[in-house]
Symmetry: D2
């Protein structure tokens, strides 16, 4: 198995099988699905940090996606097990950036990479706000040391 694409210890992975509904007529996973998987990667990372994203919304703040970038390297097929490795690249007072690497668990091939940028928005006013504590400092603690932009 090719292990080289699995990233370092600060990354967390969501792991699941490709659903039939996620494929398209070309026989592989539709490219829009990767944004859904990235989101599942963020959810898993926030769960493992002990602060599920759901709790941030319950605190009245959403992390709105303002930018996304994706590179597609290999197609995935129905029933393949995939891992969505996710890390926090940067945390600022009102924004943050996540990085992703999607890997096929069976043979370790890299399926896609990408990133998403988010701004914190107050659910009541609809306006930008600061990421509340303890979310901001916990997120910042998850930024890999080699990339200390937090």
């Amino acid at each position: 198995m090719n292990e080289e694409h699995r990233p370092g210890p600060e990354w967390e992975a969501a792991r699941f099988s490709v659903r039939y509904a996620e494929t398209d007529a070309a026989g592989i996973v539709h490219h829009a699905t990767y944004l859904v998987w990235f989101e599942e990667g963020r959810s898993e990372l926030s769960r493992r940090l002990g602060l599920p994203y759901r709790q941030l919304e319950e605190a009245g703040v959403v992390l709105v996606v303002v930018e996304a970038e994706l590179r597609y390297l290999s197609g995935a097929r129905y029933d393949e097990v995939v891992e969505v490795w996710t890390s926090m690249r940067r945390v600022r007072s009102r924004s943050c950036v996540f990085d992703y690497r999607v890997i096929a668990a069976t043979d370790g091939r890299l399926l896609a990479t990408g990133s998403t940028s988010h701004v914190a928005v107050d659910l009541e006013t609809g306006r930008p706000t600061t990421i509340p504590e303890p979310f901001r400092s916990t997120y910042a603690s998850a930024v890999p040391a080699a990339d200390p932009e937090g």
Copy 2:
């Protein structure tokens, strides 16, 4: 063209092309997509009745789906134009039932039929409520005369 599957004048049709993302690895439209199309059929019917479903939600009431039935008769492919014919089968004070026929516009073949049952729920309380006026009577007026269960 086979016209026999197109229903009568009380039915309204939403018409659009099959999206690539709606297909799956079997090369045809994924079966869950039809529930999304039925919903688009309901939206189109309510628009043509002059009371878009959006306005019902703005009035604080949602029509929650409580039952759905689908029969699949033929597969649809990417870029085919489909028509989602929709009619109101029955309207009661707190519930209603819609019927659907999905037809391929090119050759008139019947792709799927189905129905969905709904109950009105108050958005604030989360409890069943009556369908407010003028929605209830307008919906009732759309029930085909041959099926006067309204």
Copy 3:
């Protein structure tokens, strides 16, 4: 926890968290998502029977959905863990029927029930065919004894 909705030993469960993308503007899981979850339940059941559905397609046969029925009992929210319990109700030479019960893992409440009917279709000819061995007999062995329609 309410355990009464969990079915017997012949049922298998797929277990996962609700994805944000699966919710809609009403704040709960969109009703079309349940057909995708049912499919994931079938996939999990076939994996546990030692004959992943993928292998049936590799043998040149697809199980086309010809009917689906769904009842919705309670809404599910983002990040809730759900279990999709699945069983084989009936297996015939060219068709089979699955039953489903979707349960919220946290409080055991029943979210939805349903069933799907399938016919075996030859991928090359596009025509109905028999479910090949060892799939047919393995599927038949999974039909609960209390419902011996196989």
Copy 4:
């Protein structure tokens, strides 16, 4: 109405209403939906060029997405009419790039912009190939004169 976001004559628009299933629990269109809309924009552009993308696949070639970039500027709600303006930025022998602007038809506000890069792949061999004629030259003819990279 704010017309400034509508691009020039070389752009084509797909126009449709936001589906309920495309929204998420935040009340607006889920961000992955925009990749599906971009694809619908490409489909519409290729139809208006007289060479539907379906015909390219029938000729044995797919345009695989290798990169995507999206910027999200404003949320869209259920039932809003949106326009997905699409243009061909660049056409090379084996690749092409599309640009997108998604606009709310009612008030002209800009919802999202983005681009996707594609390579031509032979359906039989799975390897990169040239975009066959007449597709390549027709696509090239659609590149706006102000951006003559074709």
